[in-house]
Amino acid sequence: MSAIQETVTDAPAIDAVPKRAMTLGAGTSAVVLLLLLVMPLFVKNFVIFQLTTVLIYGLAVLALNILTGGSGQFSLGQSAFYALGAYISAVLMEHAGMNYALTLPISGIICFAFGFLFGLPALRLSGIYLALATFALAVAMPQFLKLGALEEWTGGVQGLVVTKPDAPFGLPLSQDTWLYYFTLAIAIAIYIASINLLRSRSGRAMMAIRDNEIAASAMGINVALYKTLAFGVSAGITGVAGGLGAIVVQFVAPDSYTIQLAIALFLGMVVGGVGWLPGSIVGAAFIVFVPNIAESISKGLSGAVFGVLLFVVIFLVPHGARQVALVCQHWIGKLKRS
């Protein structure tokens, strides 16, 4: 990478997040997990559905967080990987009659490969240029899904309707509750795997690249490999999220995966705190619930109200949920001492 490019892209650099600060303490994790486990027992099916959506978007935001917070690369093209994962799951379920759970790893693997391959040319770009290249991907994706040649599989503009799975083994759970726990299990597994990834040698290499690419390559890190790897992993997780999204929503159509989705995911990451993995779920909750709040305040100006709320968040807590968490931690610490 040239020095000029470096100075151009230096501006939006992400604060180096020490890897310990990327996760929650054991106690807090347990409380959050418990909350997530018991919540469905007390709310309506519709709210369970919304919570499932939050978990799914949380996964997609987490994937973006690994890419941006972990390896310092920007992407506005996550909706393309999300769409790909969704369509792979939907097509496998509806045309090949495959079990929904089995389609997810396939979505993940194909999206990983796709992301890895896209990462290769993307290597030559960084910062805002990379963001633009991925943006192009997000814009192009809905049109690919409409292509006549693929219509037999994708259903073209009409999309594909997916059958919603029942709880297995005759468990006495509603479809929504079952899908919630199913999604929760996958989300937790991916969350733990992601944390371990970032704590591993590969994770350290990615963060070294994020903090200073030249220094990292001087230390002997294969910059190209780890950057594309980060892209692949991020795309793979996003693909799994997309597949889950297709199963829960029971429908895929090109209109579901426009650039709006990519921007929403990016927004979720910023609100949750860039580089702070637990923030992903907070960011996801923001993009699911805040538009509804904005709409309830003013129907005609819902977009403007959303903008104001977003502005308030960015202004008051520029580091997102991470900052809030740190403040809380500080106060709890004080209380304990007093």
């Binding site: 519709f46 559905f49 503009v157 929503v249 429908f251 579901s256 709006q260 129907k299 005609g300 819902s302």
Partner: protein, 409 residues
């Protein structure tokens, strides 16, 4: 005005009376979730934001219409509580909003949700929940499928019905026609094309001599027109959206091609298509319509349209009369009021569907003369007839009879 308060009241009295007579058991009030002695909750999903936000005006018109009905005392004494949510034309959001309406707000039915992909997304859910998905705002043919989806009903004529009508006309008046078709390469264009091919039946293969499709991303469709002319066709079926329709009309005049030109209803607007293309280039173009055009002065003294103008002036002053969405919103809201009035005191979901499926020759002032709403247990396409019109001078002139073409999904 054909559905003013007093007549509505008379009708409902008559309906209620006939029910009392028909059986004592029916006389008692029956409710499902979302209806009570004082209120009927109706859900609605519209793209108030996002790429299709221009259609949001339909939802706003409906809200104004129901407010007017409430101000006049409601339906059989019950006020309408119209809950309308934004889905930004994004199917996952539509699912969330539909579930919110059904499970959290507990509405009696979801009314006039807009768009083919959003409605497809909730199609199965609504039918599994047995909640009416009534008068959806899309022209796809699949909504008329009472056998598989007894809780879903369309409203406007389907795209296929329209080209079937052109096919009928061509077969009758120009049995030896050589037809060239230009269509947009998406669900709308393909639906229209299918209607034409089905309508021509066995003769489609020999009569359609050329077919061209275009993508909305193409800057111009001139090359397609030149190719279609070269096929030697004498009938041109133009299945394009406004911008391309205007281009096509211009190009045809430019290259001196003189086919009988059929223009789809989507692009029949005088303001956005005919005028930019030039009146002199648009003479004798044939199209079809079911609603009265608010920009057409011939309806200024029409009682049906006068009622509409009065409504717009008094109850929805911020709306634009010339925006096609307001006429649609007004008409479809009137249809729902008619159905709910017919339900009387039996406001169960099953009865709502039953009444929606038993509209007989119902006329709304904004529909063209002779266009009537008819439904039955096997026909879930309320408006399935259109009237042909020919462009003369500076306006459309209606001609011929109302032609109907029922298509089931």
């Amino acid at each position: 005005m054909p559905f003013n308060g007093s007549r509505v009241a008379t009708l409902s009295l008559a309906a209620a009376f006939s029910m009392v007579v028909s059986g004592a058991a029916l006389a008692q009030k029956k409710y499902d979730t979302g209806a009570s002695d004082t209120e009927i909750k109706i859900g609605n999903i519209m793209p108030y934001s996002g790429p299709a936000s221009a259609y949001g005006v339909i939802g706003k018109t409906e809200a104004a219409y129901f407010k007017m009905i409430n101000d006049k005392g409601g339906i059989n004494g019950r006020k309408i509580n119209f809950i309308s949510y934004d889905d930004a034309y994004s199917p996952p959001k539509t699912v969330e909003q539909a579930r919110k309406l059904v499970e959290s707000d507990e509405v009696l039915l979801i009314f006039n949700s807009l768009g083919t992909p959003p409605n497809t997304a909730i199609h199965k859910y609504m039918n599994a929940k047995k909640v009416p998905q009534l008068f959806v705002a899309t022209g796809a043919t699949k909504w008329n499928d009472p056998k598989h989806f007894p809780w879903t009903m369309g409203w406007q004529p389907s795209y296929q019905a329209e080209t079937r009508i052109y096919a009928k006309y061509i077969l009758k008046n120009m049995p030896n026609a050589k037809i060239a078709v230009l269509y947009q390469n998406d669900d709308y264009g393909k639906d229209y094309l299918k209607g034409l091919v089905d309508g021509l039946g066995a003769k489609a293969k020999t009569m359609i001599v050329a077919q061209e499709s275009y993508e909305t991303s193409e800057p111009t469709i001139d090359n397609h027109i030149v190719k279609l002319k070269a096929s030697g066709a004498d009938v041109f079926v133009n299945i394009t959206t406004p911008k391309f329709a205007a281009q096509a009309i211009k190009k045809i005049a430019e290259i001196q091609w003189k086919p009988t030109h059929f223009l789809n209803n989507v692009s029949a607007s005088v303001g956005s298509v005919i005028k930019p293309a030039g009146y002199e280039n648009s003479q004798n173009i044939i199209s079809a319509a079911y609603l009265k055009d608010a920009s057409d002065p011939q309806w200024n003294k029409d009682p049906g349209m006068e009622a509409f103008y009065a409504f717009m002036k008094k109850d929805f002053p911020e709306g634009n009369v010339l925006d096609g969405g307001t006429v649609v919103g007004y008409s479809v809201a009137a249809t729902l009021v008619k159905v709910l009035t017919q339900c009387g005191d039996n406001l169960t979901r099953a009865n709502v569907m039953k009444q929606a499926a038993s509209l007989k020759d119902y006329e709304i002032g904004t529909l063209l003369p002779g266009i009537k709403i008819n439904t039955s247990a096997t026909d879930f396409a309320p408006i399935s007839s259109l009237k042909l019109m020919k462009f003369k001078g500076e306006k459309w002139e209606l001609f011929g009879d109302v032609i109907s073409a029922d298509v089931s999904g």
